[in-house]
């Protein structure tokens, strides 16, 4: 459970396909449609087989569909909230749904990562990349990143001072 951050990241970055149990979940969901079952099941069946996720350095993308193709990309920094929900079916199947909301204004999630047992790792992965997760910057010299421009300017100042001293002592 307490996997290191790097291990967790590696797991999430490698995610690409939903777990096969998602098809079971889709089937049960389609059964709820009673008479519409064959149509719903077919739609879900193709969604399952075409669903692809890609977790990148800056953002995440998902694509699915066979007749109507869909592809969604979003950057981690634009995530507004991370919503993890687990229905009773998902709990029995050991899966979870992570819905990612951006400020795009639709009432439904812009991107949904469903059908993975690693939903908690996905949640933590996204949380770490979300805006506002970083600690507030303290303005101490230790935490400042290396600033090459400043280092060069300091070197320049020292050189000029030494030159001036050298010239002054000649007179």
């Amino acid at each position: 459970m307490e996997a290191s951050t790097a291990e967790q990241d590696a797991v999430v970055l490698a995610l690409e396909r939903p777990h096969p149990r998602l098809l079971v979940q889709y089937t049960i969901r389609s059964l709820a449609g009673v008479f519409m079952f064959p149509v719903l099941w077919l739609v879900h069946y193709f969604k399952y087989h075409t669903l692809r996720y890609r977790f990148g350095e800056d953002g995440i993308s998902a694509s699915w569909g066979i007749l109507f193709r869909q592809e969604v990309h979003l950057t981690y920094k634009r995530i507004q909230d991370i919503h993890v929900s687990r229905s009773i079916v998902e709990r029995y199947l050991g899966l979870g749904t992570v819905e990612i909301q951006t400020a795009a204004g639709s009432s439904r999630a812009e991107l949904t990562v469903e059908g993975r047992p690693e939903y908690e790792a996905v949640r933590d992965f996204l949380y770490r990349r979300m805006r506002g997760h970083e600690p507030l910057a303290t303005h101490s010299a230790e935490t400042e990143p290396r600033d090459e421009a400043r280092e060069l300017l300091v070197a320049l100042r020292d050189e000029l001072a030494a030159t001036r001293r050298a010239l002054e002592s000649q007179r």
């Binding site: 951050t5 950057t75 920094k77 634009r78 995530i79 507004q80 909230d81 991370i82 919503h83 993890v84 929900s85 687990r86 229905s87 009773i88 709990r91 029995y92 909301q101 951006t102 400020a103 795009a104 204004g105 639709s106 009432s107 439904r108 812009e110 949640r123 933590d124 949380y127 770490r128 979300m130 805006r131 506002g132 997760h133 970083e134 600690p135 507030l136 910057a137 090459e148 421009a149 060069l152 300017l153 070197a155 320049l156 050189e159 000029l160 030494a162 030159t163 050298a166 010239l167 002592s169 000649q170």
Partner: protein, 243 residues
């Protein structure tokens, strides 16, 4: 009778009922809030109000049927009444479980809310993305001295159905807490410290404006430094050569 039923249902539903772990990362402060016990009383009262009209009508129907000459007349309203009572007890149980499975985790960077048993629902937001904080209190809630603290993000509009229930957008709701004002102050304190940006995915400008030099400018600067070094050497050599 309640707790064995509850543990059975939770086991059947595969709900672990444990509080959510706080969001990962270093936190100065983690505080777990629960809904007030009054929240449960409030939910039950709200339920009773919803059932009052229907139940009352059926009770009146039963009494009226007693005076009827037809021997079967009482069967229909009393059967319905039994059904309504059964439904009420199920909903009563749901209200109790809902109350017990509510967790609000506040840290110095984010809020995580988990609730529900049928669908276990968990939302995590950071203060940087919060657009506004609201306290909502209905007349019944005021009677009990509890209120909901809502944190809205820019995450899109809610459905029309959700808006009817006072949920105008995305974000989290800390429902049924007694110390709403104190919690609001704590949250606003965190918000003030993270005031930069519009919460719309702006680059983190919390370090203040920082403009990086282009790599070409840096290269030129390096050349200037080399030039200065050469100038110094030349000056020192002349100094050494011609005292």
């Amino acid at each position: 009778m309640y707790s064995p039923t509850k543990s059975l249902v939770l086991r059947l539903f595969k709900v672990d009922g444990a509080p959510p772990e706080p969001p990962r990362g270093a936190h100065d402060r983690v505080r777990v809030l629960r809904a007030s016990p009054k929240y449960f009383t409030y939910s039950v009262l709200a339920l009773l109000c919803a059932f009052a009209v229907l139940g009352g009508l059926l009770v009146v129907g039963c009494i009226a049927a007693l005076f009827s000459s037809e021997p079967w007349a009482a069967a229909i309203p009393s059967g319905l009444l039994a059904l309504v009572l059964a439904l009420f007890s199920v909903l009563f149980f749901c209200a109790r479980v809902d109350y017990e499975l509510r967790y609000y985790v506040l840290t110095d960077k984010s809020v995580r809310v988990r609730h529900g048993a049928w669908i276990v629902d968990e939302k995590t937001i950071t203060y940087s993305n919060v657009q506004n904080v609201r306290i909502v209190q209905g007349p019944l809630q005021r009677m009990f001295g509890i209120s909901d603290v809502r944190l809205d993000t820019a995450g899109g509009g809610a459905s029309v159905e959700a808006q009817k229930h006072g949920n105008t957008g995305h974000g989290v709701a800390l429902a049924g807490i007694e110390n709403a004002a104190e919690v609001r102050d704590e949250i606003l304190g965190h918000l003030r410290r993270r005031a930069g940006g519009a919460g719309l995915g702006d680059a983190d400008d919390e370090r203040g404006p920082r403009r990086e030099l282009s790599s070409r400018a840096l290269a030129t600067l390096r050349e200037v430094v080399d030039e200065a070094r050469a100038l110094r050497r030349a000056a020192e050599e002349r100094h050494g050569g011609a005292p």
